[in-house]
């Protein structure tokens, strides 16, 4: 299922036999996925197939959902992040997340970015790292003259880039993006996609998207998820984006990407 090129580079994070349960219901079934470093990996699939659930399991954001538990392994830097001795707070410092709806804090632009630095114990003048993060998120030029303004005063696209800057400031290895453009207009969407391309030089990005064009345009690898007969999410196919979109191996993938799904 995973083509030869994927396996040549050692994965930065990988899921092995990952199952995710909500109570007794198995929402995601037996996912095996190796994420290639410094690449953009897209997860696509119909609604309810567990894309976001899988994404959130990569930095243990599922911990906050009552009754949610995980079996199998997610290996990051040689550790299973679900081991007893792993601190989920440290996992999240290394694996950041950008959400579907832009969610800046009701604080100033500066404080939004500085917050992550402060909780990591950084003290003194934070203007340097804040500026750097805002530059990386391609937002600096638009906000440098009013850093004291509320983060909520920005437009939707700017807010989303602020959220990206906020995630970048803590210097994660991986950034998880959960449909980051679904609340944005096409121009803001393109800006975020350009930004992702730029960021993939330094970071590994995993993005969940509803938008197949976005996956085709912006990602290097694509994983296609769907629901099986038990309504559990399964990974059907995973490989280089160009292969998945031009030469899908599975009938279900082909149906989905050609719009014949359902």
């Amino acid at each position: 299922m995973i083509d030869h090129q994927t396996q040549t580079k050692p994965p930065i994070i990988s899921a092995e036999d990952l199952c995710i349960f909500y109570g007794n219901f198995r929402a995601v079934k037996n996912v095996d996925m190796k994420i290639v470093p410094n690449q953009i990996t897209a997860i696509i699939g119909p609604s309810g197939c567990g894309k976001s659930t899988v994404l959130r399991s990569f930095n243990r954001m599922n911990d906050f959902i009552p009754n949610c538990h995980v079996t199998g392994k997610i290996t990051f830097h040689g550790h299973n992040i679900y081991d007893e001795d792993v601190d989920p707070v440290q996992v999240r410092q290394k694996i950041g997340m950008v959400f579907q709806k832009p969610n800046p804090f009701p604080k100033s632009i500066f404080d939004n970015v500085a917050w992550g630095l402060k909780i990591n114990g950084m003290k003194g003048d934070l203007s340097e790292p804040v500026e750097q993060a805002l530059k990386q998120a391609a937002l600096w030029d638009e906000v440098k003259d009013h850093l004291k303004k509320s983060g909520l005063s920005l437009s939707g696209g700017q807010q989303q880039r602020l959220c990206i800057a906020r995630a970048l400031a803590v210097k994660p290895d991986i950034i998880l993006m959960d449909e980051p453009c679904s609340a944005l207009d096409p121009i803001a969407t393109l800006k975020i996609e350009d930004l992702m391309r730029e960021l993939s030089k330094d970071y590994t990005i995993i993005i969940v998207t509803h938008n197949m064009q976005q996956a085709a345009r912006a990602s290097d690898y694509t994983a296609f998820f769907t629901m099986d007969s038990d309504r559990a999410g399964v990974m059907v196919e995973y490989g280089e984006t160009s292969h998945i979109f031009t030469n899908p191996q599975d009938k279900r993938t082909e149906d989905y990407i050609t719009g014949r799904y359902g």
């Binding site: 999240r92 950041g96 969610n103 909780i119 995630a167 803590v170």
Partner: protein, 301 residues
Amino acid sequence: MEELHSVPAWKETLVTRIIQICGYSSILFVILILYFLLSEGLPALWKADLNSLFSTRWYPTESYFGIWPLIFGSLFVTLGAGLVSVPLGIGTAVYISEVAPSWTKEILKPLVELLAGLPSVVLGFLGIQVLVPFMRRFFDLPTGLTALSGAILLGMISIPTMVSVAEDALNTVPKSYREASMALGATRWQTIWGVTLPAAKSGVITAVLLGMGRAMGETMAVMMVTGNAPVMPQGLQTIILPIRTMTATIASEMGEVAAGSVHYSVLFLIGIILFIISLVVNVVAFTLTSRKTTRSERLLS
């Protein structure tokens, strides 16, 4: 076409009128109360000697009407109550809203609401039977009826109000703020202190003010445990001495005073002062909650 069945116009008018009268009458009552308060209380300003009014001695039988000890008594006890109730109340609200598992929440929330409705005289009993003897023994005092007893008891009384309002404020903070903070690798405590509480700031301040307002207006319980000695607070030792609040003064003396006398008017004047203080607290609380939110904030929350 079948004719539409319509309500006769006079019925509509009647209902509208009745509702109108209800609305206007409640406004009218408030205005009448205010008028009564002012007409009975303001004459005190010229009937009693002003020098006497703003002196520090309250001894009405010999025409000493110094209201400072009473005002300070009230402020002293209320601020003391605040020192007890703010940390405990906000702490409880944070626990219920942010930390407690849902089954605990289900139990604690109604319990707090129940406590808020407890008659204060019942708490006064508790104060007399438990708190006051404890104070006397603990500080080795001639009497346990002290300002501190009053402050602690009032603190207890204002906690439920505070918890209930503050908890509501914390609940309105969007979940996405907490998620964003946790996803940055913040601990739960860092998220509460750095994101959730600041986002609920105006509601939490309102909770504090409403709780303090409750403490300021409380009469029965405070009368039962503070000893009711109208003396000026002097230094720190005042906390373990008897004190008297404005509310307790009105409640205990109004029954024995001749209508229309100077003493009578002064008691009403104290009522006016209480009214002004609670009005200020309420206005501040109101402006804070109805603080103008920006359009984007409204959209996002």
